[in-house]
Symmetry: C3
Subunit: 299 residues, 3 copies
């Protein structure tokens, strides 16, 4: 029995879940993804020096989730690139953001109100990907809980989970951190969301997939838009984590959420890299500076 089917928004959720993402929402997804690539220190110079590597990076940012999921499930990691229209669209977005005359396109899409709309649309795609990932894994491994969780998670987190290698492609190497050691909000939310979708898929959560997609998308949009608008990094999960973690794992630095490297918003945060590499840190700060400047330019 489904407790939400009764409410009038049952149909709304169904209609929302049926909404096609391809041209419109995907475009928003690509725009925000490539935007964050451009925020990365050195990304612009690279796009001038070796455009091909820059394009490859952009593809990783746009299709990282498909590549990782295919890798995990032993399918062709390049398989998704057989969707030519999708790749061409992403390429167009990359070209406009990096090479549009007078940086016009970049200025438009990084204008906050516009950007917020795209951020919201990106979350719609993200949640769909998680649902699809869990669904696909459930189809392959009917009782493979952990496989469903892993697949949904990588589908939701995308390039953040291979940040080290995406950076390596750009000639940058920061081994002291990665998207798993310091989870950004989207990475962590994808993880929690995947748990919900896995429970739903295995009928432990009495709610229809359409409703779950609807509610979780709303949650993600509200959080991400708020965080982007206010440049805040207070994880909405912090209270819960600070309640549960100490019980389960002993004393966890409650300042932990502050440590998050929001990979998808690196440009905006004051990052606190862990102690290990002092020199790296100073480099970090320098980049921070250039990053800030870029960010400023963006507004």
């Amino acid at each position: 029995m489904d407790l939400a089917e009764a409410l009038p928004l049952g149909e709304l959720a169904a209609a929302f879940a049926a909404l096609p993402v391809f041209p419109l929402f995907d475009t928003a997804y690509f725009i925000i993804s490539v935007l964050y690539l451009k925020y990365e220190p050195g990304a612009v110079e690279m796009s001038r020096k070796s455009p091909f590597a820059s394009w490859l990076c952009a593809m990783l940012h746009c299709f990282g989730s498909y590549i990782l999921a295919d890798l995990l499930l032993g399918e062709a990691p390049i398989g998704h690139f057989s969707h030519n229209s999708s790749v061409i669209l992403a390429t167009a977005v990359w070209y406009l953001i990096f090479f549009c005359p007078m940086n016009l396109f970049y200025k438009c899409v990084s204008f906050l109100p516009v950007k917020l709309i795209f951020v919201a649309m990106k979350e719609v795609v993200r949640v769909r990907k998680i649902a699809a990932g869990v669904h696909h894994a459930h189809h392959l491994y009917h009782h493979g809980w952990f496989v469903m969780l892993a697949t949904g998670w990588v589908k939701g987190s995308g390039v953040a989970l291979m940040s080290n290698f995406e950076q390596l492609l750009r000639g940058v190497w920061k081994p002291e951190t990665n998207g798993i050691l310091h989870m950004s909000f989207p990475t962590k939310a994808s993880l929690y969301g995947t748990v919900l979708f896995t429970l739903q898929q295995t009928h432990w959560l009495p709610i229809s997939e359409a409703n779950l997609i609807f509610f979780f998308t709303m949650f993600m949009i509200v959080c991400k838009v708020f965080m982007t608008a206010t440049h805040s990094h207070a994880s909405p999960f912090a209270p819960l984590e600070n309640l549960v973690c100490p019980v389960l794992f002993g004393s966890v630095s409650s300042g932990h959420p502050g440590h998050h490297h929001d990979h998808h918003g690196a440009s905006h945060e004051v990052s606190h890299p862990p102690p290990p590499p002092p020199p790296a840190k100073s480099k970090e700060e320098l980049n921070e500076g250039t990053r800030k400047r870029k960010a400023k330019k963006a507004e």
Copy 2:
């Protein structure tokens, strides 16, 4: 004809080979694997700061061999995680070793006599994995000698062969060494064992699989238990290698075995990391020189 079938221990070997490994021996395997993860510098802090990354590391230590073998054979690297009971068992072991109140569980299992028993049991699982790996590869590539060797080897060595990436997940990066450049005893023994199992599989070694499993397991147990008990790192293969290598590959530094980084006991040994780090750059220059000279010589 089988020269060992005659001996009375033929049935013993058969019975031993038929012994199921799942709950008991696997538990020992997980305990020792996670134990060595906890020995790694920084592993404990990580388990407090980001328990999820710590859990992922533990999974790599417990299931690395399956992940690598599946990767090599183009199967789903996450496939083995569909065995929920196995993953849950490994998770329980990880939790007990890292978060048990008063560190009780850790103290028990790392108490030498207890530990030696588990070490012995782990070798039982290791040898089974090698045999299974060779068997599986032989099934896929009937005459693929090198495929059998590779599969058996990674099944036996496990996480040691991806040490660099396991460290990267923990934010540690030691490029100057890896589990292939400086083979630990288990890695090397797995390699030699795989050769035997491949010869047996292709009927070049006149011995039944059961007997080979029995004898090789005994050899591994004796060696590993002795080495763990005495903290020694003198490779039992050194004499043979010092005899063969000079003939085949010219002068090999006979001090080589001493340099082994026993990945599964890194914390115990006084590790001699090869000079590179500081001289890395200067070496670079020297090499520049040698390279130049070589180039000259080439003409």
Copy 3:
């Protein structure tokens, strides 16, 4: 309609395309590949200290293109190693180049006139691989333009595209550059060649595969032999790139070709590594310290 079929060299091209590469041309391919491995700084010492790692490196140099293509297409990356004869041949070449008494074999094959012949023969194999890669991808993804391009490219470039990881296996780590960020001539030529073969495969290029193989092989031989003979690194594509890139991607440093790290001839060029190393080095040392301290704490 085929504009080259008219010419008398139509049959010549067909005969050339039908030429088997296995024993002869492959040998040349292996010789040149392993030769460039030996040119790498530290490769010789490694071959003495850990022959197995050296052999593995040699295999990456000889079969990297197959490994990468299989990885991309979700097939067994180790699959090609089931061709025992091919692997044994490569192993023999590796052994002769590294361990032949008095370095005789090395001296012979690196004697310029001899080397040039092998270089020419290697290009024959490279072009065949590109054609086969595009063909295979076209068979799997009938309209997957990008899949064809990627497959053909990795088949042509081989180990250069995984240079970072090939170096890591040798204990070397140069994150500041890679085979994509600074494309060598073979890598770039493979990319352009793949475009041609993809167009041909999808009937946009009115020329028979045999003719395209013939002409492109000739082009590659001429360029590579010339560049090897003169130690030049002036990319033949520079003029075209300097014409097109500024229009498409704004100002590109026209000094770019000079910066190429010709991975297949690293030994010959005066490389300009970007600044990073020094700070990385000191970081290394600091980590060394913290690591030692942690290790102490462990006991």
